[in-house]
Amino acid sequence: MNLTDQEKKMLDGVFGTGPQSAMRLLVTLGEIYGAQRMIPVSSCHVGGRSYLVSGEENIEWMTDLLEGGARFQVFTSTNPCSVDFDQWKEMGLPEELVKNQRRTDEPYLKMGAVPLGSCLPYQLGNLPLPGTHFAWGGSAGATFANSVFGARGNREGSPSVIAAAIAGVTPEYGLHLRENRYGKVLVDLSQLDHSSVSLSDYSAIGSYVGRTLIDKTPVVVGLPKTFSQDQIRFLISPMPTAGAISLCHLVGITPEASTVEAAFGGKAPGDKISVGPGEMKSSYQKLTTTQKEDVDLVCFGCPHCSIPQIREIASFLERKKIHPNTRLWVATSGHLKAMAQRMGYVEIIERAGGLVTTDLCVAPGAPFHLVQGVRTVATNSARGAYFIPGACNVEAIFGDTKDCLQAAIDGKWRAAR
């Protein structure tokens, strides 16, 4: 790789062992992918802070970097973690976990991370602009930034994102390069009656597309004229789970996909798939791992809930009570919870017996298995349902938002699955 003098100095340890380790990691990645040079990143969003995922190893590594003089050079926000610092007792989480999560966060904060604690950083002040380069952990956010903002970044693991935040640069490979961003497969959604397709249905569709295309960039046509941010998020966030998709062209929405031709870079589409109700239903079946009736916990918020989603949950729960044997967690960011409080939604959800959590991840870093009696978790997200059984060793039911809410009230899953 061709490094600038400044980058060479960093690699040689002139700025300390912390920046040196960061640069060594980035150069390694660059060599593997055949990158010619480093490019500056303007936005970073670091993951790896769920104590239940990254553990003591991450604390050791981050502390070594910090003590070696590493600091975040660019705007760097944080992904969710394994606890809610304010409500862990009500959630039934062990204090030990809270302590360990605090220890994990310490080096992030000392290096200058902005503790958004959310996978919706773009709703909270970390918004990469079209054509700029970002390094984000958390594949849902990275896919959104690529597909909706037209900013450029790869799906990557936490260490290389932390290294980019410290070095201020990342190797130029993959989706940083225009030629790698063109679509490969046309995905036609025009068979669907969009007026009856729910948010969770869109995530079921996204999951099917991810499973089918694996790593080929989709170009989606046949979307309704108005398509909300929540609908986009539910459609594209499961795509990276089954495979490695981290850019999805939504024709008419994605800046690089004003037309089908633009999305394919003037080339003919390689393949074409059509997604209808049958493909959609297959995701519900595939991601539901149990036929048992009892539901111990219902969670929303993979990715974190937006205000419209919290509103939908609150309006369903008005004057209702959640079953005493079932818990309900609505996961979002501190910012959005404050807003939902002012709008009265938090009070309604709490009066029904649920919790609106902050900072908490309800998928890969979730602590479900540490809550006494939780064996089956229901969620309205295909992305969440993909991660929950493996990460937490509990059963998952993937269903529609309203069916999940009804299960929280009944304590049992009675809808079809």
Binding site: T28, L29, E31, I32, S54, E57, W61, G157, S158, S160
Partner: protein, 138 residues
């Protein structure tokens, strides 16, 4: 008998030791016990074998992107392999090797899974991408 192979440097450094070879991809997260340095993935070709202080030869990584943390932690606990040889390195193994500063070479001019056998003595010059194999049995 000595065989010299040439490949691509991913992480530099010198190392020598006994080889542990598997034809199956390796997941460090969940597949290797970092305290003991032993492969624990059920049904894996080298399940139960120690990779501590060895030259670990395998096709490439697999599994979670949290894998690099495990390699790093093994380096800190001195349970890591002395060096690694991959058919084709991918980011999980490479990032872990960079974090733990463990020499890593890939893309050798001959398939290392065929040339090197468990028990062979292997000398690595990571910076030059040179692997020298002394066969245990010829």
């Amino acid at each position: 008998m000595k065989i010299v192979l040439h490949g691509r440097k991913i992480i530099g450094g010198m190392a020598e030791g006994e080889a542990v070879v598997t034809k199956e991809p390796v997941s460090f997260l969940g597949g290797v016990n970092p305290d003991k340095g032993i492969v624990v993935e059920r049904g894996h070709e080298v399940e139960g074998q120690s990779i501590t202080g060895k030259i670990f030869v395998f096709p490439h990584g697999k599994g979670s992107t949290a894998g690099p943390y495990i390699i790093y932690s093994m380096a800190k606990r001195k349970t890591a392999p002395k060096a690694m040889i991959n058919v084709e390195a991918e980011p999980i193994i490479a990032v872990g090797a960079a974090m733990g500063n463990i020499p890593l070479i890939d893309r050798l001019d001959k398939n290392p899974l065929e040339v090197i056998a468990t028990g062979d003595f292997v000398k690595i010059d990571g910076d030059k991408g040179i692997v020298e194999v002394t066969k245990l049995r010829t």
